[in-house]
């Protein structure tokens, strides 16, 4: 198995190839979160690629910002949930790899549909409550876009988790400062997200989501803080489009696909480390 940074490079290749292959999808946030998801699935989480919906005695991950499905699907396939060849069916007719993740087609690794934003933190809390009722010593992880924090349900959930001491939950916010219509500061000011979660009663951490060493160290720290009566939130600074120079920090790459020429240019920047699908 290649080291984590090399795996992340392959994941990024998969992302741009998948989005190019269906001429649609969301490369920007997917590229930005590639290091985080690689760290989770290839090192941090205790999980079984022989998929079991109930996730008994496993750590579990919820992708709330479902539009970054390319990175999720690539990481699932590369860690053994299904054949990497299936990545070629992304967003095509009769595929299990729907535009946004779903359980409906029974894709291994997906435990709830997401796409309509703001719902994943509630689902993660629910799974965490069940793990507590079942007396499991496991952790629930979730990922949310910063733009997604515009949704009111996120703050309902943010209020619930500390009140009910959901301390087996690590929620990560992808703080890249971009959303579809432009920079988050222009679309809807988020202010200091970390201070908001602090005020709601969470234990908060901050990391550079595109520095693998920092990601691993911060996730390890977060895990060490579970079981202490408070949920944990990580403010993850990422660059939208990270790894492909012409996509970086440009909200226009939130939800469009590269053309043939752009694909070639992107792949030239991303070493093939595990073999393309």
């Amino acid at each position: 198995m290649p080291e984590l940074k090399a795996i992340a490079s392959q994941i990024r290749r998969d992302i741009v190839r998948m989005v190019h292959g269906s001429s649609s999808g969301h490369p920007g946030g997917s590229l930005g979160c590639a290091d985080f998801l690689t760290a989770l699935y290839f090192q941090v989480m205790k999980h079984d690629p022989n998929f079991n919906m109930n996730a008994t005695n496993e750590d579990v991950f919820f992708l709330s910002n479902g539009h970054i499905s390319p990175v999720f699907y690539s990481v699932l396939a590369r860690s053994g949930y299904f054949d990497v060849k299936e990545l070629a069916t992304f967003r095509k007719i009769n595929s299990r790899l729907q535009g946004h993740p779903a359980t409906h087609e029974h894709l291994p690794g997906v435990r709830i549909a997401s796409g309509s934003l703001g719902q994943g933190l509630s689902a993660a809390i629910g799974a965490a409550l069940t793990k507590k009722l079942n007396k499991e010593n496991t952790t629930v992880f979730s990922l949310h876009g910063d733009g997604e924090l515009d949704e009111g349900q996120i703050w309902e959930a943010a209020m619930f988790a500390p009140h009910h001491k959901v301390d087996n939950l690590i929620a990560t916010i992808d703080w890249n400062g971009q959303q579809i219509d432009g920079p988050t500061d222009k679309v809807m000011s988020l202010g200091n997200i970390r201070q908001k979660f602090d005020a709601f009663g969470w234990t908060t951490l901050e990391m550079n989501g595109n520095d693998m060493d920092d990601v691993i160290a911060t996730l390890d720290k977060a895990k060490s803080l579970t079981g202490q009566g408070k949920p944990i939130a990580i403010m993850m600074h990422t660059i939208m489009g990270k790894g492909v120079d012409f996509m970086e920090n440009d909200h226009n790459w939130h939800g469009i696909a590269p053309n043939d020429e752009q694909l070639a240019k992107a792949l030239a920047q991303l070493p093939e480390t595990m073999g393309d699908y």
Binding site: S114, G126, T130, A157
Partner: protein, 319 residues
């Protein structure tokens, strides 16, 4: 059995059937958990909270979060019952139910009280008359509207053993009890009388009114079939068709908009297989208002004389 022989054995609100049913099923099934959005008292959860404090989740006034948490709790095998008023159980959280519960195939039981105009004085903000339609349109959603305390209790218990998302709709007012718990089976229509002139299909509180209307019609020499469609989806099409082939005309009675509810479900079966005249007793594409349940049922055309008149009209249209 004649309709006249159907006696009320007492009076109780259907929501108390829910409160008693969830305690009884929770004693048998340790996976049953209850969630509420600051309405534990109105939803009659006091006993459940006392017996199973660790299986009770207070969410506060945050229905969207409640639905999402319930969906998440199914992962690991819990059977979550979400509880609030019907309006806040459905319209307020439609997308949460659609994506996190129905599309995701989660085993969540959405339990909704205070449905329809019989909520009374609180008025139209709280009197949802569109919820049956909203829920039955969702692929994979089962929709159950029991008619009295005993049936609500039976349904509350039965859905724990029934895999998949369920919408269970009941209400606030004290209402006659006239069924036995053992009468209830999900998806199986309950036939109160056999007749040849007209079929009255009803659900919820309107089943009692349909029986009273049937008694009046029988006194006029009309032979009436009264059928309780407590499970609107999946619909007992076999029972519906068997009845309309015999009586050749229909009245539907529901505490719901005639657009989207029980009437629509029956009409679709009839139009596909055996078209007959159908008269609809329900609210006529309108919101409710404040008043007593009795006053509102009368004003919105849901009273016994309205069903009698609809039956006579349906029979007339056969000729």
């Amino acid at each position: 059995m004649s309709l006249k022989d159907i006696q009320s054995t007492g009076n109780k609100d259907t929501r108390s059937g829910f409160g008693d049913g969830i305690v009884e099923v929770a004693r048998k099934n340790e996976n049953v958990v209850a969630l509420t959005a600051d309405l534990a008292g109105s939803m009659k959860l006091q006993q459940f909270m006392k017996e199973f404090p660790e299986r009770f989740v207070q969410v506060g006034i945050a229905e969207a979060n409640m639905i999402g948490i319930a969906a998440g709790m199914t992962i690991g095998g819990k059977i979550p019952y979400t509880t609030t008023f019907a309006n806040f159980s459905t319209g307020r959280v439609y997308d949460q139910i659609r994506q996190s519960v129905a599309y995701s195939g989660k085993n969540v039981k959405i339990c909704a009280s205070h449905a329809g105009v019989t909520l009374g004085e609180d008025g139209a903000t709280h009197q949802i008359l569109e919820d049956i339609g909203l829920m039955k349109m969702l692929p994979g959603m089962t929709v159950i509207v029991p008619c009295d305390y005993a049936q609500t209790k039976a349904a509350t218990m039965a859905i724990a053993e029934y895999e998949g998302p369920v919408y269970l709709r009941f209400g606030r007012p004290v209402w006659p009890i006239f069924t036995k718990e053992s009468d209830f089976k999900i998806g199986k229509a309950q036939i109160f009388s056999e007749g040849t002139d007209v079929t009255i299909f009803a659900c919820g509180h309107m089943v009692w009114n349909a029986i009273q209307a049937g008694i009046e019609l029988e006194a006029k020499g009309i032979s009436v079939e009264v059928i309780n469609i407590h499970t609107i989806k999946p619909l007992d099409e076999e029972a519906v068709l068997a009845s309309i082939k015999k009586t050749k005309c229909v009245v539907t009675a529901e505490e719901h908009n005639i657009i989207g509810g029980l009437g629509d479900a029956i009409a679709q079966v009839a139009s596909r297989h055996f078209p007959v005249p159908i008269e609809y007793v329900g609210t006529k594409d309108t919101f409710g208002e404040s008043g007593t349940p009795k006053e509102l049922l009368k004003k919105y055309g849901l009273d016994v004389p309205d069903i009698v008149a609809a039956a006579e009209k349906a029979i007339q249209r056969k000729k």
